[in-house]
Amino acid sequence: MDKMPAWADAVLVPLISILLAAALSAIVILAIGEDPVAAFKLMVDGALMRSSGWGYTLYYTTNFIFTGLCVAVAFHASMFNIGGEGQAMIGGLGVALVCLFIPFPHWSVALLVATLAGAAFGAVWALIPSYLQAKRGSHIVITTIMFNFIAAAVLNYVLVNLLRPTGAMDPATAIFPQATHLPTFQDMFAPEGSRMFRGSPANVTFFIAVLACIGFWFLIWRTKLGYEIRAFGFSESAAKYAGISPVRITIVSMLISGGLAGLMALNTTMGEAERLVLNATEGAGFIGIAVALMGRSHPVGVFLAALLFGFLYQGGAELALWTNIPRELITVIQALVILFTGALDNMVRMPLERLFLAARRRDS
């Protein structure tokens, strides 16, 4: 028999891990001489108590859904894609290119084409590492790390030497044409003259992210490709026996992963900045790791974890604004979440399993 019930594995273990991470974060805040309760209240106020706070929270959430799903799909195939950051950068390049060079009649068409372009560019950036993993056994973790740096160099070169408008100083493209600007939550939901969502960057891409979550669930648990990806992730030798090609699954799942990372650019580049800047990703690719771990690679989990990190990001910005706590606090929390839900999983799991076993023995 399994050592503990499925619900404990899916909910209890991550919950305890999060609580541990939260407790340690509180200690860190105490250690730098601030009040964790006040800090938390400030974060809630800034991120959740105002519609513009929600606008930011959901904007960040959108990013993290994409990168979280990116890491999660690779996890299902038993691969660790640390390259979400680089794939998102190159995805941004794809989005920027279509926005700059195709004269779109309407934002909806632009969004559709940019979606394809972002996904395609992100997928291409994942293609080489996945091909090398599948065909030559080069460890995907190392190659994707390397490709993050190479992506940064490529983007740097393209922005500085090719796409920078003449005369401009900062390495960024020109502002995209008006027709490609995506409707924000303010455009969509605020009644005439209301201040709802005012100035906040959340935009229509959020709904694409939600669609991605739903699509992800169907893909992984309801299609034969998902069946094969999971089978391969659990046991490569069994997959081979079943006639599932490891090369195909490795490459296809990484293409999907890279594509999802690339989609993040819709939100940051097309939705918010409306031009491509050098550091558009701002580490969201790495936050995807924490989100996927915390969300147990399940779209519902990923959505909730992305929401939590969206809240942390917006709340963290508020903290930096009003207190002496720098934004890096969020990086620490992110590290603790990765540590407890990922690397120290067994520290929580092993005592729990013992507890459940003891309980079962008492029952029988």
Partner: protein, 535 residues
């Protein structure tokens, strides 16, 4: 040696549970110095657990260990070594890219610098080799040695640590009969020198051949300890399984029909560049079971892999007269299944099943692309589940719960899930490897009956097993593999264990030379060829 001397090892009331499973229940044994004591039992009877406790790998829940009349605590391997216990595990514990010498001194070095340790070990090894017929090149890398020689390194490791109690866990599983004979001569020498040996095995023949006393284990309990001279294989077998064993499978004579599977000159080179199949030619007709006998590692697994479509090969394979693609686009497992080849793989845990998948998901594993299981772009999980429930009931899978993950079933029930999946596809050809490995007696009978039933429906069956008894009782025709080749085919009625054993060691004719020399010559030649291919 008298019964009044203190036993070399005495276990008193050892118990050990893993979660809800009681692996050892109140076990007591006495082993006198200078004897070979056999422990026999089915897979999963708790033999290895008991020995792991003795070697400090597990901590017993209850019970005491006495060594040479002294109560001894063995919390770890270090303590076991200090108590003079050496262990040769079923899966060798060697560092593949270290030399023999480095492996021998590892953990038993003389000081912080390596050089003096290596020099002394070289001398000791030379002496031990001569004393016990344990010759092996001290400077060779382990990865270049045959399994027989690797096992010698394991024994040398124990002797170098001055073990006077040696435990061997299923030592002959990977050896040819001749290599096994050589091992037994070594054990004989060790006994003559006063060493105490515990031999764990599930093979009755070995117990009868070499041991002085034998203990029988069944489901975690010690059912009897007897003097070998005063018992018989039949009695031991009965003690092992708890009732009379049906040694022969009830089956009518085969009615072979047309040739269904024809293999001609099949070759396979593994990823190290070693040729594992060296021109196999074989034919299986409708309504017959062809058994492949051989020591593990002589190409049987590769043969199944090439036939099953997950390893490349060259040569010709015809199914019902039509040639199949061996290396191209249609050489994968999916294409093989489409051609009516079903495959029960040798290892159900790493190949046949996804242990984390529910039983129902596993019942379509490999056939999941079948349009029957799809509805639109999605898989028809409701249908798959319903069919799974039906299959599980008919194949007596216990518990018949399709939502349970595969890892939660016993070995026998896991095998039934695989069998149900493959047989229910109504294939023309069934490839089946080690059908009853790690399966309890009750399930063995069921599985054997299913195989025969399929044969009687006119299917072609290729059976691979390292258990000679199983080959002899199931097969209508037997082919023996050695070193990637088929050494000969025999009819079960016209052959015996001895003849098959010789073929398994590559000896095709009854030799004029003494048997052992002939076998050794064959094995040396095989090793030399492998070393050459390793480059």
């Amino acid at each position: 040696m008298t019964d009044t001397a203190a036993p070399a090892i005495e276990l008193k009331g050892i118990s050990k549970a893993f979660g809800p499973v009681q692996a050892n229940k109140d076990i007591s044994i006495r082993v006198m110095p200078g004897t070979i004591h056999g422990i026999i039992g089915e897979n999963g009877a708790g033999k290895s657990t008991l020995m792991s406790i003795l070697y400090g790998f597990y901590k017993a829940d209850a019970g005491e260990v006495w060594i040479h009349g002294k109560k001894t605590e063995i919390p770890d391997s270090q303590a076991a070594i200090a108590a003079g216990i050496g262990m040769v595990f079923q899966h060798f514990k060697l560092v593949q890219n270290f030399t023999v010498l480095e492996n021998v001194i590892l953990g038993a070095e003389d000081g912080p610098m390596l050089r003096p340790s290596l020099a002394r070990a070289r001398g000791v090894l030379k002496r031990l080799s001569e004393e016990y017929e344990l010759s092996v090149d001290p400077d060779q890398l382990i990865e270049n040695l045959s399994v027989g020689h690797q096992q010698r390194v394991e024994i040398l490791k124990a002797l170098y640590r001055q073990a006077d109690i040696l435990i061997l866990d299923e030592p002959t599983g990977v050896l040819t009969p001749a290599e096994a004979d050589h091992l037994f001569r070594i054990l004989d020498n060790l006994r003559a020198e006063g060493k105490t040996i515990i031999l764990i095995t599930h093979k009755l023949r070995e117990i009868m051949e070499i041991t002085d006393t034998v203990s029988v284990m069944r489901r975690g309990e010690m059912t009897a300890t007897v003097k070998t001279a005063e018992t018989s294989p039949e009695q031991l077998a009965e003690l092992m399984v708890g009732r009379k064993v049906l040694l022969r499978v009830d089956k009518a004579p085969a009615q072979p029909g047309a040739s269904v599977l024809e293999i001609e000159n099949l070759r396979h080179v593994d990823h190290h560049g070693v040729e594992r199949l060296k021109g196999i030619s074989l034919e299986v007709k409708a309504g017959e079971i062809v058994g492949i006998a051989g020591v593990a590692g002589n190409g049987q697994s590769e043969l199944l892999e090439v036939l099953g479509g997950y390893a490349d090969g060259t040569g010709t394979i015809r199914v019902n007269g039509a040639e199949i693609d061996l290396t191209g686009k249609h050489s994968d497992g999916q294409s093989r299944r489409a051609r009516g080849i079903a495959h029960v793989p040798e290892d159900r845990q790493t190949e046949g099943l996804i242990m984390a998948y529910a039983a129902w998901e596993n019942t379509v594993f490999g056939y999941h692309r079948d349009p029957h299981y799809q509805s639109g772009p999605l898989m028809n999980n409701a249908l798959i589940k319903a069919e799974a429930q039906d299959k599980m009931t008919r194949y007596d899978v216990r518990p018949p719960n399709p939502n349970l993950a595969a890892r939660n079933f016993s070995g026998g029930n896991q095998q039934k899930i695989v069998l149900a999946r493959e047989i229910e596809r109504d294939p023309d050809i069934l490839l089946i490897g080690q059908p009853t490995r790690g399966v309890d007696i009750g399930a063995i009978e069921f599985i054997h009956q299913e195989i025969v039933r399929l044969r009687d429906k006119g299917k072609a069956i290729l059976l691979v097993s390292v258990e000679l008894d199983e080959i002899l009782s199931l097969s209508d025709r037997i082919a023996v593999m050695f070193d990637g080749q088929i050494m000969g085919e025999r009819l079960p009625a016209e052959t015996d264990q001895t003849e098959l054993g010789l073929l398994m060691a590559g000896v095709t004719e009854r030799p004029d030379k003494p048997l052992i020399e002939a076998v050794d010559a064959q094995l040396d030649a095989k090793e030399a060829r492998e070393a050459e291919q390793h480059g």
